[in-house]
């Protein structure tokens, strides 16, 4: 049980750590809004450290239904998320260096917990923005919660939520972390 991980397994972990660092600079999640006069679509794109897309335009439209304004300040996660990711990468590297199975299990556990927390966090924000609508807004709509993935219709807008490159790469990182489990099976 205290058997050391093979070199291939360690390599897999190092690659995983590298890719994980790259994900900091890639979009993780996004939402695209379509309306008759915005057929090209308006974007909110979430990176671990910033928001991108037509945030100002989305904000100026959201005020009609009394939704709070999106800004990087309103998401404190964006301040520390890159550090958590970097820390996670560091843990992967350490595991690869020490090549200890027990550390690997811890890592996988952390990853699963992190993933669940991440998805919970997105969900929490979607609920918060979609349900805390200003009662004095010019257009009254029922509170709504857009899905994490998929389509939603609100007023004249069809929204499309989706995971993006960063998340796909994150999945690959997870598979690379799982790889040693398969590699080291009953040997």
């Amino acid at each position: 049980m205290s058997k050391k991980l093979s070199f291939q397994s360690a390599a897999s972990l190092f690659i995983a750590a590298g890719l994980l660092l790259i994900t900091i600079f890639l979009p993780w999640w996004g939402m695209k809004f379509y309306a008759p006069q915005y057929q090209e679509g308006l974007n909110i794109i979430v990176y671990p450290y910033k928001l991108a897309g037509e945030i100002d335009i989305v904000n100026s439209l959201n005020h009609y239904i009394g939704m709070a304004q999106f800004s990087e300040e309103s998401f404190p996660e964006l301040q520390f998320l890159p550090w958590i990711i970097a820390g996670m990468a560091l843990l992967i590297v350490i595991t690869g260096l020490l090549r200890k199975m027990s550390l690997l299990y811890g890592l996988i556990g952390l990853f699963i917990i992190g993933g669940i927390l991440g998805i919970y966090d997105i969900r929490r924000w979607l609920v918060s923005f979609g349900t805390n609508l200003d009662p004095k807004a010019p257009i009254t709509v029922d509170p709504f919660v857009p899905p994490i993935i998929g389509e939603n219709t609100i007023a004249n807008f069809v929204t499309n939520s989706y995971f993006s490159y960063g998340s796909f790469l994150l999945l690959l990182v997870f598979l690379l972390i799982l790889f040693p489990l398969w590699k080291e099976r009953r040997q």
Partner: protein, 623 residues
């Protein structure tokens, strides 16, 4: 008996079949041909929804003082650009900047738009136009299709034939239509020949600062200067202007300016004039650098031409200049090369008003006189060596080869064409695809709107050997030359960028404020969907309170940085209004000389709550 019946019946049936068959087929063939021609014409001009026209056509609006933008081939009117005339639709002439630019004039007679050029072809940067009525020249920035500078040029009398630009937009030349008293404010018409001059101006335009400047002026003889062109390629240092009234008549010009058998083309070398100015060979005159050609010889020559010429055009290769005599029904092709040779050999037939006159026969290449064609005016070109000339009196366009003088084709237009325009048709790189004839008269071609009929344009397909008439459209008055430019050359932007260095711009609601300094009230406000905020900290952020007699300055920024979200601001009963493009900051200045409560509202439809986008100007009466 039966046989007889059946025989007669057979013959009858045969006749019936023959009648129906041949009758309908011969009739149908004509109808079919006509309808298929109409159909193919319709297809040729149809631009499907969502697709764009291939060419911009930017037309002068004559005495409307405006420019009109059309798409070719659809001929859809896309935009009106106010230049010399205030325009409530855009607020042009109401906000501080454009009001100052218009200088108190409320109209202008906009002629001859000219696109800026690089290497003899349109570069899509700016468009220039002149005002015959008030001696002005304007620049329109093609990044946003708005007028950016207007210069009132001194010492001149109506730049009718201008503007025309040199090959790299070094100069915009403004020869003028009316000669005026020179050196004195007033002079008797009896002393016309001695006291009057027709001044031509060389104007520069700085594309960075977007400002005009007069480089120098030339005191030409007291004639009327009619149409002008800069040379191209080998002739690019030279330019030509047609003139009439070399008779120097002062009354009843219809008769008196049509007496001389020959008028002149003024041929001048602007590069030499430029050098002369650099060397200080000019005199200060009324604030301008004035060149007197009779004192400084060697740059300006006269070429005799058939009487009362109007149009003059330079072929794309820069080898020829073509003059059209509106009274002498012919196009005369002159050779630049021959003219240069004549100048070198001093092959002069005499002198007029101190200017050497070149020998007509030495410079003339050929006269082209299409039988029955009357009133040739203006010529444009394609890239295949063809010239296209409008015939004002015989209402047609004549296609001819300028190297040989051979007439290729003639096409009727409806009616009385003045100018015509082909894509890049006055450049060194014409694109002979379409031709638009700018007609002075439409007569009964369209639904009647009373005694005044619209002006009109005809669109012709000139890609083949024969010209094809595609369509006729009514247009705003008065189409007086235009520029047709490929859409790829023009690159407009959509939203103004944030300019943090602009002291009048406010981008954050929190920074909106109203400042008072004595009798001056300054508002730093914003317009956004769907409200005005003049002072965010105030109980009513959309209200401006002033005292009667205060001077009010409103700096307003449209903070919707979103394509096509335009706001307007109108103040009731104060005759004030402007339009604001996305991201733009504009300034309105006025004296609150009327006491009362004046609603302020958004004039440009901006959103579903546009109607609610209002505020108040409260003017407290004097005690």
């Amino acid at each position: 008996m039966k046989k007889l019946f059946s025989g007669a019946g057979g013959i009858l049936a045969g006749l019936l079949v023959a009648f129906v068959f041949f009758g309908s087929s011969s009739l149908g063939a004509e109808e079919q041909a006509l309808s298929s021609e109409n159909k193919s014409n319709a297809e040729a001009v149809y631009v499907p929804h969502g697709e764009h026209d291939e060419y911009y056509l930017i037309n002068s609006g004559g005495h409307s003082g405006q420019l009109f933008v059309y798409g070719v081939p659809s001929m859809r009117h896309i935009r009106t650009i106010p230049v010399f005339t205030p325009d409530p639709a855009t607020g042009y002439g109401f906000d501080k900047e454009s009001k100052e630019m218009l200088g108190g004039y409320t109209w202008g007679d906009l002629h001859h738009p000219a696109l800026s050029e690089t290497n003899g072809d349109y570069d899509g940067n700016f468009l220039f136009a002149t005002d015959v009525a008030n001696n002005r020249v304007a620049a329109i920035d093609l990044e946003d299709f708005h007028t950016v500078d207007i210069l009132e040029v001194p010492n001149i009398g109506g730049p009718h034939c201008a503007a025309f630009v040199t090959e790299n937009t070094e100069y915009i030349f403004l020869p003028t239509r009316f000669s005026l008293p020179f050196d004195t404010e007033y002079a008797s018409l009896d002393d016309y020949s001695e006291e009057f001059r027709g001044v031509m101006s060389a104007v520069t335009f700085d594309q960075e600062s977007k400002e005009f400047d007069v480089a120098y002026q030339v005191a030409l003889p007291p004639w009327s200067y009619d149409k002008a062109r800069a040379g191209k390629r080998d002739s690019s240092d030279w330019a030509v202007i047609s003139t009439y009234n070399t008779e120097e008549a002062t009354t009843n010009l219809e008769i008196n300016a049509s007496q001389a058998d020959r008028d002149y083309i003024v041929l001048f070398n602007w590069k030499n004039l430029e050098e002369r100015v650099a060397n200080g060979e000019y005199e200060e005159f009324n604030g301008e650098k004035m060149i007197y050609p009779e004192k400084h010889k060697g740059d300006i020559y006269l070429v005799p031409v058939a009487k009362s010429p109007h149009g003059i055009d330079v072929s794309p290769d820069g080898k020829y200049f073509i003059a059209s005599g509106k009274l002498a029904p012919a196009m005369t092709v002159f050779s630049f090369e021959k003219a240069f040779e004549a100048i070198e050999n001093e092959d002069f037939s005499g002198e007029r008003n101190g200017l050497p006159v070149l020998n007509y026969d030495s410079v003339m290449e050929r006269e082209v006189d299409p039988p029955g064609a009357l009133g040739p005016l203006h010529t444009q070109f394609d890239e295949r060596g063809n010239a296209y000339t409008t015939m004002f009196i015989s209402s047609e366009v004549v296609k001819w080869e300028y190297e040989t003088g051979e007439i290729i084709d003639r096409q009727d237009v409806y009616y009385s064409p003045g100018h015509l325009v082909t894509p890049h048709g006055d450049t060194a790189e014409p694109q002979g695809k379409y031709l638009v004839s700018l007609n002075k008269i439409a007569k009964d071609n369209f639904l009647s709107v009373g005694p005044s009929h619209p002006e009109s344009m005809d669109l012709l397909d000139i890609s083949g050997d024969e010209m094809r008439h595609l369509m006729s459209v009514p247009v705003n008055p008065e189409p007086h030359y235009g520029q047709m430019v490929h859409r790829d050359v023009i690159n407009p932007f959509h939203v103004y960028e944030m300019d943090e260095s602009n002291p009048y711009a406010v981008y954050d609601q929190k920074d909106t404020r109203i400042e008072r300094d004595g009798d001056n009230v300054t508002v730093y406000g914003i317009a956004m969907r769907s409200k005005f905020i003049f002072d965010a900290a105030s109980e009513r952020p959309d209200v401006i309170e002033v005292n009667e007699g205060d001077t009010v300055t409103m700096h307003i920024t449209n903070t919707d940085f979103d394509q096509d979200i335009v706001h307007g601001l109108g103040i009731m009963d104060y005759d004030l209004n402007f339009e604001q493009m996305p991201g733009q900051t504009k300034t309105l200045e006025f004296v609150a000389d009327k006491a009362g409560v004046f609603p302020i509202y958004c004039t440009n439809f901006c959103s579903a709550l546009h109607q609610e986008m209002t505020g108040y100007l409260m003017v407290k009466p004097k005690e």
